[in-house]
């Protein structure tokens, strides 16, 4: 069990965007806890806290971004044993639909890597390219990030074309935060308001499937 008092200093370091301090702290974990404990009891809860803080207005997006990148580095470089954690997870990927601003996708991707998940990063794609790739890769989960309302509305076409392919569609991005019913309007299965919501939604999906 990870001591509760380790969370607060780790969170403070992440919010200060102090990468070196975070890496130094994480090196100490290698002697005191298992990689699984570090991720499940420290990294994920702290990233969730930070995501909640952003949702409530006490944390800025730049802090969320820096925290996710630092945690990705910790997980992939200092805790490599975690790469075995999700060997049974279904194929999944993340994509930016039509838009040219990829910050949201980058944060979600880093957050999922930091939490021990593995997924493909498709980058920016058009509707047709995304549908084709999802089917070709036999994905079970596709995370779609958008910034602009038109791109969010184009997800409806993705949903329509993926109907019958047994793909779980999780969406996120500014339009969905400003319109809480939009994800249903475009035929998605779930919507994440923060990057760490993606962890919860994927775990819920995996739990329901198992």
């Amino acid at each position: 069990m990870v001591p509760q008092q380790q969370k607060a200093p780790f969170k403070d370091i992440l919010l200060a965007c102090d990468r070196l301090a975070a890496l130094n702290l994480a090196k100490q974990w290698q002697d005191t806890m298992t990689p699984t404990a570090a991720i499940d009891q420290l990294i994920v809860p702290v990233l969730e806290d930070i995501g909640q803080g952003w949702e409530q207005g006490s944390v800025a997006l730049s802090q969320v971004y820096m925290a996710s990148r630092i945690c990705e580095e910790i997980t992939t470089q200092l805790l490599p044993a975690l790469s075995r954690k999700n060997t049974k997870q279904p194929a999944m990927a993340i994509a930016l639909l039509n838009d040219y601003h990829s910050l949201g996708k980058t944060i979600v991707y880093s957050t999922l890597l930091a939490s021990g998940h593995t997924l493909k990063d498709y980058g920016r794609m058009s509707t047709a390219e995304l549908v084709q790739r999802v089917i070709a890769d036999k994905l079970k989960i596709i995370l779609i990030s958008t910034l602009m309302l038109p791109s969010a509305l184009h997800i409806a076409e993705v949903s329509k074309q993926l109907k019958g392919h047994d793909v779980h569609i999780i969406v996120g991005g500014a339009p969905f935060r400003f319109d809480p019913t939009l994800w249903q309007q475009v035929g998605a299965h779930a919507m994440g308001r923060t990057a760490s919501d993606a962890i919860t939604l994927i775990n819920e999906f995996l739990g329901a499937k198992s």
Binding site: L15, C17, W54, G57, V59, A60, L61, S62, Q63, Y65, M66, N98, D99, Y100, H101, S102, L103, T106, M148, L149, P150, S151, L153, A174, P175, F178, D179, T181, L182, Q185
Partner: protein, 347 residues
């Protein structure tokens, strides 16, 4: 007050924190002008005359209180040599960043307004609109803040990295952008713009922590706004503003465009007498509102922020999406004219 004011009188009165004849409202419509003229968005922005006709038709239709010479956000990146990518159903995007590595900042220079064709189109539209309306209607020009423009110049993630890891290059970038911003704002004012909307979403605590903002965007805003020869409104483009209201006042701005994420009552209380408020109808939800929902949203906003002036009803982003239907924009207009008359009946 019962005598009808001109839009200019109405806006100036509310900016002076007094109650005009009714709550002024800005429908910040840019790409909707293309619909009015039956043009594609790309064709619409190809000629200044289209923007003039589009803005005049939109105001005649919706009877709002400003003309808006904002073309699109990537215009300024285009001025720096960047690419604008048009789409059929939304605002243009900026393409590949012009700063591909932070060291490119060493060679970055501000474009000359008088030699940049895309900027001259905006100035031409501004001059023509001014000739049409003289001082009856405020003409709102737009600049991207020097602190927020880098999101399009180098990409969002790279810009955040720069803020935290290379403060010297950040300073250099802000200096180049500041000179351009001042020149660009003053050129629009000289062409006939009444005021400048200073889009600064990065200033919002939604995007940047206040501690970082005070060291960067705040200092930049203080220096920039001091050299702009006219009134400015700082717009958060959907971001929150409450935590930095007093900082914004210190920058010398006259108004703030606030977010639907914040309660207008709280924003009004924080800004009262110091800063006028522009906002905060939800433009994203607007695309599926009923006319009744539009009326309710207008009534609620006016009841929370209208009393005592210092309030201009608007959307919360600074641009109304293409997908918002005309009947909803008309319903908003009707509701403001019905429920926005001073003295307010339902605050």
């Amino acid at each position: 007050m019962t005598t009808a004011m001109t839009s200019m009188q109405r806006v100036l009165t509310t900016l002076g924190h007094q109650e005009p004849d009714r709550v002024p409202f800005f429908l910040l419509l840019s790409i909707h002008g293309a619909k009015e003229l039956g043009l594609s968005i790309e064709d619409y922005f190809s000629k200044a005359e289209n923007i003039v006709q589009g803005q005049l038709r939109l105001r005649a239709k919706y009877n709002d209180d400003c003309l808006y010479t904002f073309f699109h956000a990537p215009l300024e990146v285009e001025a720096f040599g960047g690419e604008v990518i048009f789409s059929a159903d939304g605002p243009p995007n900026s393409g590949r960043p012009i700063i591909t590595t932070p060291t490119d900042i060493h060679d970055l220079t501000a474009p000359k307004v008088e030699k940049t064709r895309c900027l001259q189109k905006v100035l031409q539209a501004t001059r023509q609109l001014k000739a049409e309306v003289d001082d009856e209607v405020p003409i709102i020009g737009v600049v991207m803040s020097p602190f927020s423009l880098p999101v399009m110049q180098m990409g969002f993630a790279s810009y955040i990295d720069l803020q935290y890891e290379q403060p010297d290059l950040l300073e250099k970038l802000l200096q180049v952008n500041m000179q351009f911003c001042i020149d660009w704002a003053n050129a629009q004012l000289s062409a006939g713009a009444t005021a400048i909307c200073y889009f600064d979403p990065l200033a919002s605590p939604t995007i940047t922590p206040r501690e970082m903002y005070l060291k960067t965007g705040f200092m930049t805003a203080c220096q920039t706004l001091a050299k702009i020869n006219g009134p400015t409104a700082t717009h958060m483009a959907s971001g929150r503003c409450l935590a930095i209201v007093d900082d914004l006042v210190s920058t010398g701005t006259a108004a703030v465009g606030t977010s639907v994420l914040e309660d207008l009552t709280e924003v009004k209380s924080a800004c009262a007498g110091k800063l006028s408020i522009l906002g905060n109808l939800n433009g994203v939800e607007m695309q599926h509102w009923s006319e009744e929902q539009a009326e309710l949203a207008v009534k609620e906003a006016i009841s929370k922020a209208g009393k005592g002036g210092g309030f201009i009803l608007s959307d919360n982003h600074g641009e109304i999406p293409w997908q918002v239907p005309d009947n909803i924009l008309l319903a908003i207009s009707t509701a403001v004219h019905q429920w926005g008359r001073y003295p307010l009946r339902h605050s």
